[in-house]
C-alpha cells in the first residue's frame, strides 16, 4: 500500500455506479474532503448518498472511476482502507441474539485492534444498553451500538449514513459533539443526511447530491446565506406589496388579504424587515426553506433547468 501522509481524507475521481438494472445511482463524482473536516453529504432519499458511502467501504464496486481514503484505493487496498475507517450503515442490522456487549466483542475480534477504554467511555457517554439481547432494543439503542462500533478503534475517517435515525434530540446533540471532537482531534467525518438542519450545526462544508450528481459543494455558512426563507407577514390591514416585491431577491408568493407570503434570502432579510415595518404588523414568521427548495434554488442559479 502506498499510503501518502499528505493525502486528503477522501478523494474521488469520476466515481460512478450504474446498477445492473441500468439505474445510474452515482455519476462522475469528483470530491475532495480534507483531513480534520466534517463534511455533510446532503440529498433527498434515493439521491445516491448510500451508494457513495457503500463504494467507500468496498461493499459495492464502482462501474467507473476510483475513490481513495487517506491515499488508499478502495478497490486495490480495500482491506487497508477499511482498517482506518469506521462505518455506520444507513440501515443497521446487528446480530439479534447477542447482547450489546457480545456484539461489540465480536466486532472487536473481527477488527483486531480496539481501544477498550475508548469503547467503555463511548458506551457510558451514549448510555448504551449492553446487557440485553439486541432484539429487545429500540431502534435508538441499536443505533448507539452502531455508533460505538464505528468509533471504538479510533478511526481516521468516520463515515456515517444518516446516523441520527431513531436518536432522541439529546442524543443527537451528544453525537454532534462527538463528531466535532473527532474532527478537532484530526480525524475526518463524512456524514450523510437528507436534512440540512441536521448537518448545518456540525459540518464545515456541505455537498449536495441529487439524482446521482453532486450539484454543489459549499461552506455551510455560504449555503445558509443563499437558502431562501419562507416569510409570512400578517399586516393589520391589506397593504400594497409592490414595494416588497421590488427588494433584491424577494419574491411575493401569495397575498391573502392582510396575510402576505414571501420568499427571501438571508441577505435580503434586513431590507425586508425595514420595509415591512413601515406598516402596522400583527405577526412576522420566518422559516428556513426545506432542502428540496434549496435544491431548486441551486438549480435555478446554475441554470441547468432540471
Amino acid at each position: 500500500m502506498d499510503r501518502m501522509e499528505d493525502a486528503p481524507a477522501i478523494e474521488t475521481l469520476g466515481l460512478s455506479k450504474t446498477y445492473s438494472g441500468g439505474t445510474r445511482a452515482l455519476v462522475d463524482l469528483d470530491l475532495r474532503v480534507e483531513r480534520g473536516e466534517v463534511f455533510g453529504y446532503l440529498g433527498p432519499n434515493g439521491a445516491g448518498k448510500s451508494t457513495t458511502i457503500r463504494l467507500f467501504v468496498g461493499l459495492i464496486r464502482p462501474t467507473a472511476g476510483r475513490a481513495r481514503l487517506l491515499g488508499l484505493d478502495t478497490q486495490e487496498d480495500g482491506v487497508a482502507a477499511r482498517r482506518i475507517v469506521g462505518y455506520v450503515p444507513g440501515d443497521l442490522r446487528l446480530a439479534d441474539r447477542l447482547t450489546g456487549s457480545e456484539q461489540l466483542d465480536s466486532l472487536a475480534r473481527l477488527r483486531g485492534s480496539v481501544d477498550r477504554r475508548l469503547r467503555a467511555e463511548l458506551c457510558e457517554r451514549l448510555d448504551v444498553v449492553l446487557d440485553r439481547p439486541i432484539r429487545q432494543l429500540s431502534r435508538g439503542n441499536r443505533q448507539k451500538l452502531g455508533i460505538v462500533q464505528a468509533f471504538m478503534h479510533r478511526p481516521e475517517l468516520v463515515v456515517l449514513d444518516e446516523p441520527s435515525a431513531g436518536l432522541d434530540p439529546l442524543l443527537q446533540a451528544e453525537m454532534r459533539t462527538l463528531l466535532r471532537e473527532t474532527a478537532a482531534a484530526g480525524a475526518t467525518v463524512f456524514l450523510s443526511s437528507h436534512s440540512l438542519d441536521e448537518v448545518q450545526h456540525v459540518a464545515d462544508r456541505v455537498g449536495i447530491i441529487r439524482a446521482g450528481r453532486l450539484t454543489d459543494v459549499d461552506a455551510v455558512e455560504a449555503l445558509r446565506e443563499r437558502a431562501l426563507r419562507h416569510v409570512t407577514v400578517t399586516f393589520a390591514e391589506s397593504v400594497d406589496t409592490g414595494a416588497l416585491a421590488r427588494l433584491e431577491g424577494v419574491r411575493v408568493v401569495r397575498v391573502d388579504g392582510p396575510v402576505v407570503s414571501l420568499s427571501a434570502p438571508e441577505s435580503a432579510m434586513d431590507a425586508l424587515l425595514k420595509a415591512v415595518a413601515s406598516h402596522a404588523v400583527r405577526d412576522f414568521v420566518s422559516e428556513p426553506a426545506d432542502l428540496e427548495e434549496i435544491f431548486l434554488e441551486l438549480y435555478r442559479e446554475s441554470g441547468d433547468g432540471r
Binding site: 464496486r61 482498517r83 446480530a95
Partner: protein, 238 residues
C-alpha cells in the same frame, strides 16, 4: 429407533420374501438389490438409514447451514457491517466454510457414535471399519452440498438459489444412483452422482475411496469458486 426394530425382522424369511416381491424400482432406490439383503444388520441399516434417512438428515442440515451462513446473513442485512470491516470477503467465505464443515463433522460423528453404541445392544453385528467408512461418506456428502449452498450464496445474492440448487442437485443425484440400473439411459450419468461415486451400500461393502476423494475435491473446488466470485460482486442491501 429404526435400529431397535431390527431384532423383530432379523432372520425372518417372510421379510425376505416380502422384499423379493417389491417392485424393482423400490429395491433399487432403497438398496435392497445388492448382496446381504435387509435381514442382516448391515443390510438393514444400509436400507433403512444410509440409503435415505441419514443422507436426507445430513443434507438438510448442511444445505441449511451453508445457505444461512452467507445468503441468509446477507438477506437479513447483517453482512453490511461485517464486510465493511478490514477483512477480505473471500476469507470470510472460507471461514464460514470451516464452520459448516465442523457442523457436518459433528453431526456425522455423533451419528456414528450412536450406531457404535447401539450395535451391541440390538445385535446388528456391524463391522466397525465399514461403519467408520459409512460415516466418512456421509460427512463427505454433507460437506459437498453444504459448501455448494455456501458458495452459491457467496456467488449470487439469492437465498432461494442457495437452497434450491443444492437441494435439486441432491435429489437428482439420489435418483440417478437409485435408478440408473433400471433406466438404461441414466446409466452414463451415474458418474456424476456422489451417492454412486462413494458406494451406495457402505455398511455392507465399505466405501469407494477414490470416489470419496473425488467428492471432497469437488467440494473444495466449489468452495474456492464461491470465495473467488464473492469478491467480484456487489453486496445487496436488504
Amino acid at each position: 429407533m429404526l435400529a431397535a426394530i431390527f431384532p423383530s425382522i432379523e432372520g425372518s424369511p417372510e421379510f425376505d420374501e416380502l422384499v423379493a416381491n417389491y417392485p424393482e424400482v423400490l429395491k433399487e432406490l432403497f438398496g435392497l438389490g445388492e448382496g446381504g439383503g435387509i435381514t442382516t444388520g448391515a443390510g438393514y441399516l444400509d436400507v433403512e438409514l444410509f440409503s435415505f434417512m441419514l443422507p436426507l438428515l445430513v443434507l438438510v442440515l448442511a444445505i441449511g447451514s451453508g445457505a444461512r451462513t452467507f445468503a441468509g446473513e446477507e438477506d437479513a442485512g447483517r453482512l453490511e457491517l461485517v464486510l465493511s470491516y478490514p477483512i477480505l470477503r473471500s476469507r470470510a467465505v472460507l471461514a464460514k466454510g470451516v464452520a459448516v464443515a465442523v457442523e457436518v463433522a459433528v453431526v456425522s460423528g455423533v451419528t456414528g457414535l450412536a450406531m457404535a453404541l447401539l450395535d451391541p445392544v440390538v445385535g446388528l453385528d456391524l463391522s466397525s471399519r465399514n461403519l467408520a467408512e459409512a460415516i466418512v461418506s456421509l460427512a463427505a456428502l454433507g460437506l459437498l452440498f453444504g459448501w455448494l449452498a455456501l458458495a452459491l450464496g457467496a456467488a449470487v445474492p439469492s437465498r432461494a438459489l442457495a437452497i434450491g440448487i443444492p437441494a435439486g442437485i441432491a435429489a437428482a443425484a439420489y435418483l440417478v444412483n437409485g435408478l440408473h440400473g433400471l433406466a438404461g439411459w441414466l446409466d452414463p450419468f451415474r458418474f456424476v452422482s456422489p451417492f454412486w461415486l462413494m458406494g451406495s451400500s457402505p455398511l455392507r461393502n465399505g466405501v469407494d475411496w477414490p470416489g470419496v476423494l473425488t467428492v471432497a475435491v469437488v467440494a473444495a473446488l466449489v468452495l474456492l469458486a464461491g470465495a473467488w466470485l464473492v469478491e467480484r460482486r456487489d453486496l445487496q442491501t436488504p
